[in-house]
């Protein structure tokens, strides 16, 4: 065997969107505001995934303003409708759809007023990027003007919306049930190089294909995939929280080893869109699913490279070397046994 061996592995995966085996729900309020802006209030704060930007894109698309003209309310139990927790790959699905519905209601109120003002059918109105026009006519105005006219007619264009995901609990005996209404699938291929002298594994490439329903912000989705892959890589190869009789021996980042920029493979993300038929946006989610197949794909790649299977994570250099030594010993015995 050469010192450095390469190999490839694949892992497939699936995941459910939003809270598990229960009815999940979220709510939002929207207002088309002066100056052609929009105000969206929902219990959500960024945990890094880009939800505020995604919601601004959704609100902009639904109301006709620009994303930068959307003000998103802060997550405050005393000031905003319940959107509940930032987890379970539920933010785009649950809160995104709530915001879309709230915005549609606000927009419909505005459109009704402008339709009367222009004496056209509301169904002919289209608003995008700060401009409102009536299709099939020369009629057009800015969203600033539209809100102004709407308010002068005595209407404040506000809306509210909520979205429900209809999961059911599991049967206590056989576990049957419908835990989610939306599922996503993913597949990752890993290419690794194993140093058979040191046992060190480097991941050189990851190809990650994930169904996200509909990508609201493709670059944001890639960011989630890249982050998930690298967390998965950390768990696959180095991270290991250790305790001895309940006392941790990995109490800081000097002992608890995390991936750095030097550990990162080239990551090729492929976004697959199988839209969700049960929601207005069709988007599903990516936060958690991105991590699921990474570690098994890497273990399968190590096996392809050097013929040893690591069944206990992480595949530390020590474990890889021990497995290689065991394999060598096994192979040395074989001819004698035959």
């Amino acid at each position: 065997m050469q010192r450095k061996m390469r190999g490839r592995g694949i892992a497939a995966s699936w995941y459910g969107i939003a809270r598990t085996a229960t009815v999940d729900r979220a709510g939002a309020w929207a207002e088309l505001d002066d100056g052609g802006t929009a105000k969206v209030v929902t219990g959500v704060t960024e945990i890094g995934e880009g939800i505020l930007t995604v919601l601004a894109q959704i609100a902009a698309e639904e109301t006709g303003v620009r994303p930068e003209d959307v003000t998103i309310g802060d997550n405050d139990t005393a000031r905003s409708p319940e959107a509940a927790h930032a987890g379970a790959t539920r933010q785009t699905y649950m809160i995104g759809n709530s915001v879309a519905l709230a915005c549609r209601e606000a927009r419909d109120k505005l459109f009704a007023e402008i339709a009367e003002h222009w004496e056209v059918e509301a169904a002919t109105l289209v608003a995008f990027d700060g401009e409102l026009r009536a299709e099939g006519t020369n009629l057009a105005m800015s969203m600033t003007e539209a809100v102004d006219i709407c308010k002068k007619r005595g209407v404040v264009p506000v809306g509210s919306g909520h979205f429900t995901s209809h999961g059911t609990g599991l049967d206590p005996e056989d576990g049957s049930g419908r835990p989610w209404q939306a599922y996503v699938f993913g597949t990752q291929v890993a290419e690794v190089e194993v140093d058979t002298v040191t046992g060190e594994v480097q991941v050189l490439g990851i190809w990650a294909a994930h169904d996200v329903g509909r990508a609201i912000n493709p670059r944001g989705v890639e960011g989630q995939i890249e982050g998930g892959v690298v967390q998965g890589l950390g768990q696959a190869l180095m991270e290991d929280y250790q305790t001895v009789d309940g006392h941790t021996t990995t109490h800081g980042f000097a002992k608890y080893i995390l991936p750095t920029s030097l550990d990162v493979p080239e990551i090729t993300s492929i976004l697959v869109e199988d839209p969700d038929p049960l929601s207005p946006l069709g988007a599903k989610g990516i936060g958690e699913p991105a991590l699921v197949p990474t570690a098994p794909a890497i273990m399968n790649a190590i096996h392809d490279a050097v013929g040893v299977r690591i069944k206990s994570l992480p595949a530390s250099p020590e474990k890889v070397l021990a497995a290689l030594a065991e394999k060598e010993a096994r192979e040395a015995q074989k001819p004698a046994a035959e």
């Binding site: 995966s13 219990g43 945990i47 930068e68 998965g232 608890y256 920029s261």
Partner: protein, 625 residues
Amino acid sequence: MPEIDLSLHVNGRKVTRRVDPGARLLDFLRDDLNLTGTKEGCGAGECGTCSVFVDGKLVKSCLMPAAKAQGTEIETVEGLARPGELEAIQKAFHKTGASQCGYCIPGMVMAATSVLREAPEASMEEIKERMGGNICRCTGYSKIIEAVALARDVVTGRATPDALEPERVGDSFIGSNVRRLDAPSKVTGRLKYAGDMVMPDMLHMAVLRSPHAHAEIVSIDTSEAEAMDGVACAITASDVPGTDGFGVFVHDQPIMARGKVRHVGEAVAAVAAENEVTARKALAKIRVEYRELPGLYDPEDALADSAPVIHDYAPDNVVKHIPLRKGDIDKGFAEAHLILEDEFATQQVEHAYLEPEAGLAYVDADDVVTVISPSQNITHHRHMLSEIIAKPINKVRFIMSPVGGGFGGKEDMIYQGMLALAAMKTYRPVRLVFTREESIIASAKRHPSRVRYRMGLTNDGRITAIKFEMLSDGGAYGMSSEGVMRKAAILSCGPYEVDNIQVDTRVVYTNNTPSGAFRTFGGMQAQFATESMMDIAAERLGLDPFEIRRINMMRAGSLTHTQQELKSASIDRVLAEAEKASRWEAGPAGMRGPERGDLGGPGTRAPCTLGARFESKAEKKGRVA
């Protein structure tokens, strides 16, 4: 306390202050100058979130005593660009989407600035090496590296400044790469996380934590601590006015240890004082008498008949067992030509978000107890706190501050209750900021798991039956364990339609650091085992790994492991896309031989070989100074 006069330049302005000689440069910048763009992630020089320039050199300000900065020129993230403007590197971070939670980002921007100043012609490899001292937990570094390379190209004239402008939007905002709205505040360090927030008259909290894994608390005496100058209050479980107990599924955890401690690092008492130093000193004056109890450190041991009981309500130490039964596994295994049995294990994993837990609580003018913290579930926290402090729900208010990374680790209400109690006791704002070590011992981890797997297959690769048993270590408290076991069970056998399954996932109490929610919620532990089995089976049957997955994959109309009929299943599409993009060379595992053409092609990087960087004289000459 002796003090020294410190005089230096910060972001081009002369600053003179009288400071504690023990203060770190980081404390001086954050506490004395309110330059909170410089973050504390670990306090040990490991993570790089506190990076600043000292006389032009990139320095981790948590490792430098403030006194050593006498007479120096300091540059922090706030000083990189004029207020309201962005430097090229900051624009590049904005353009590529390099900031996610943003907590590591000021440090990353400083490290990247150092690259552009010291090695403006740096190759991708050199950029990665130079950024290697800064940890990011969200982004996987890819977009950060992309941003540095983009800024490099603009700064060196290889690309025009237009490259930093936003992408054009077509006829829809959905599906377009709208730049993150929160990025400017993150790349400039302007965004305030909970630990950056201050309020007038604010107290500082410190927490006394258990040194024992399992012990009865005989007595706690806080009188000496409370008598100390500068201490506003001490709190213990006896200060809880309502029904104590929180948890995502079972409310088995008191906000501070009640009667006994169940893991090392569990909160036992807390002090609120005029400053952090006094609060920490006061902890040493709290007298706690413990009587140690036998501990449980292995989930198998927890199931033994004679095992110590950790929670009285669960005499068998089982937090939750989730069974799935579909079809008839005896029949399924009888139909199999090949039966594989194996075991798999995953480790306990730390979330390692760069922002340690932090929060601020106060009682407002309407007597509303308000807690600001990076909680991932303020709705549920509000319900639980209302019971704990015995107040109606409209007198409890949770505000979610920007979260510097969560990944599930900030779903547990492990400190907000203490802050609320201290605020109620003093009617003053109280702030608590965890150290990294505190965060690691007190917060939940990913469940370590052991899986025993039995899979039956026909010779043509069709799975006929699966028996799947998972045992997980839940640690000392329930937290999200129940849900994690449920999700692990539901997803256990992967994206495959299997007619006959028997799945059991169990989680038990031990005296280890608690396990809780962590991105995938049990899904990865379960599918690691399944995906390993799929490859083991493929090898035994001489099948290509993609092929065996296609033979078994779910389709529209398939019944899942919980017998739900799927309306659609995109597994066929993601398999095909991954196969195509990676230029997968078909063939059974281990049989591709030495003549394969799939390795080392597009989509891979060169292996990293750290060491001295050699360059020819000609290259050196060509470098921009």
